[in-house]
Assembly symmetry: C2
Homo-oligomer: 374 residues x 2
């Protein structure tokens, strides 16, 4: 019996989209949902109160980063990640798999696990499924992810096949090693861009009976159309009454398309990262606030947006803050971008409830341009 | 008739300390007060709401910086500095004098004004009393400061004498040029470390009948004892019923000693600047939060402090944030340091009201150590 439960409230008739509610020891989460990323025990530039204000219902912590600094034992001594970072809502920690394979140096993969060198100081570390479970249990999130290998794109079939089979064996070992009553463990479907491998991975993981499933190894460089294809053949293989989490995805278009293909949960550093570079989402597309054209623009970032930033500050002021390198600039754009994405998820949930998600998508894309608005 | 009025509520019997209230078009300020510095139309790392939370009653803007970026005309078009930066309380702008003499390159001083090159791009600019009034009127603060020359320390007598006389002539020109009904102009007493020049400067400025007086050219490198000496001979020369503002001073000890010597207003970048380097004030002295000794310290920065940071975060967490370079670290220490200084000012006001300021000083210094607490 899992400590989190997922209530499937509705399944769309004209797409794979679903409406649900995820109950965790730190509160309930309405799905589909986007999870802001708190890589190093803080969502960059935001306070926990501001995370609540923008509508965050669950946030993510990065196991790889927290293991390296400040260390999972220290966080455990602090009373767990919730207490350490002053966030009382639900938390999900990833498995470190993605970072081990994208950030670290000199990886050596074996059946046992992965030896790698820290991207910070070159120190040697060894992650096994058992070690990662130890770390995630110490961090104490509501949801932990099983240790997996995130296969790069492009990658040949044979390597992907072997890696995917190993990820499944690691998932079994994670299940055995995981022994924390107030934490739930999700498995991760891999298989790269190969549909037969995705199917094998999904079936094997489902047979292990995880309370929820990540879909990993997507949004790693492949065309979006290919990601959507893989996604729409994968989600129907997963049990309807369990949550599905598409890892590392967070652009507005991918969120909408992901929901339509049956995804319940998303995370991505995109909204916070581009905010710190001065790029914001609006309902008409992206705005690069450093642009000289906003120098004398005393209108808000997005006239349709009701967030703190848009209610109180002009584009001219935000441009000034970025121009002179002030921290408040990063705060205000980060706040806006998270508010925007969480507002988007709320409108998506409303559209599912009203059976109008496909119309919502059409209307959204009729206004939203991927390039900066002219 | 000045648009701000100063109500002298109480004069101490055993020191020059006073209790007052300063009424401005944007609200009243209890004195003695510390003013956080919003150099570039933002108090670094803070939101306006947080400034209110920590107890800010009035903030400062820097004329030199705002003139260069984004430019006073842009701020005027935005509706003034209050609207531009979303701060509805009182604002004071300095005269740019200090920055022109400390930051800019290749200054050429004449009777007419100062030619200087921007520290940003080397571009040439010319500040005259009339030009500075034009800039400050465009910024639209509640209180503007007259254009002055801030004489360096050490400086010979003869140069100081001539400069001080010129600053007085500039003050007259500022008075003539200043024509903004909802803004008040303060004069600035100079005179370096020479008591006779301080006396001449004070008498001349008083005869010009400014509604308030800055005391400039102190805390520029001279010993604190010398600053206190100059201060306690200067303030009695100023009218009792007008506010006195000691410019650029903001360490806890100098605030207490300044109040005891008759100062009503202070400003300084110190609390926000050291906060961003990870140094915080506590009632027992400074704490350098990056220090390894705080790695496993799950207590708050200051157990006596009731601020947001101290109520919600441990030293171990703050050390982690600084260690990994997270913005939230700067936010939390900045918040704490401003709260601490504004709390100190409140306790000072209470002590004046209770006729116990000298005892308060004694008690404060019995606990507060200038060096980091061991």
């Amino acid at each position: 019996m899992s400590v989190i439960t997922f209530e499937l409230l509705k399944e769309s008739k004209d797409s794979l989209a679903r409406l649900g509610k995820l109950y965790t020891p730190h509160g309930a989460v309405e799905t589909p949902i986007f999870m802001p990323v708190g890589t190093q025990a803080t969502v960059k530039a935001m306070s926990p109160e501001e995370l609540v204000e923008v509508g965050s219902q669950i946030i993510l912590g990065n196991t790889y980063h927290l293991y390296l600094r400040p260390g999972h034992e220290l966080i455990e001594r602090a009373g767990g990640l919730h207490t350490f970072m002053n966030w009382s809502g639900p938390i999900l920690t990833d498995s470190g798999g993605f970072q081990v394979f994208s950030l670290s140096d000199l990886r050596k993969i074996s059946e046992e696990g992965v030896e790698f060198r820290s991207h910070l100081d070159g120190s040697k570390h060894f992650f096994t499924p058992e070690k990662v479970m130890e770390i995630e249990m110490a961090l104490g999130a509501d949801i932990a992810m099983a240790f997996d290998e995130c296969v790069a794109y492009p990658m040949e079939y044979e390597y992907t096949r072997q890696s995917t089979a190993r990820t499944t064996r690691w998932a079994e070992r994670c299940l055995k090693a995981h022994q924390k009553k107030d934490q739930t463990l999700f498995g991760i479907v891999q298989g790269g861009i190969f549909k037969d491998l995705r199917e094998i991975s999904a079936r094997n993981l489902v047979s292990l009976n995880f309370p929820g499933y990540g879909i990993g190894g997507l949004s790693v460089g492949e065309p979006k159309s290919l990601m959507y294809e893989i996604l729409e053949m994968t989600t129907p293989l997963l049990p309807a009454h369990k949550p599905r989490y598409l890892m590392g995805v967070g652009s507005p278009d991918c969120l909408i398309e992901g929901v339509i293909r049956g995804v319940d949960m998303f995370d991505c550093v995109l909204p916070t990262r581009i905010a710190r570079n001065g790029t914001v989402f609006t309902w008409e597309g992206k705005v690069v606030i450093r642009n000289a054209r906003y120098k004398n623009d005393f209108s808000p970032l997005d006239p349709r947006c009701n967030c703190y930033t848009c209610r109180n500050y002009s584009r001219a002021y935000l441009r000034h803050l970025f121009n002179v390198g002030e921290i408040l600039g990063l705060r205000l754009t980060t706040y806006h971008n998270l508010f925007f994405l969480l507002q988007l998820m709320q409108e998506i949930r409303k559209a599912i409830a009203a059976d109008s998600l496909l119309e919502f998508r059409e209307e959204f894309f009729s206004r939203y341009l991927e390039k900066e608005k002219e």
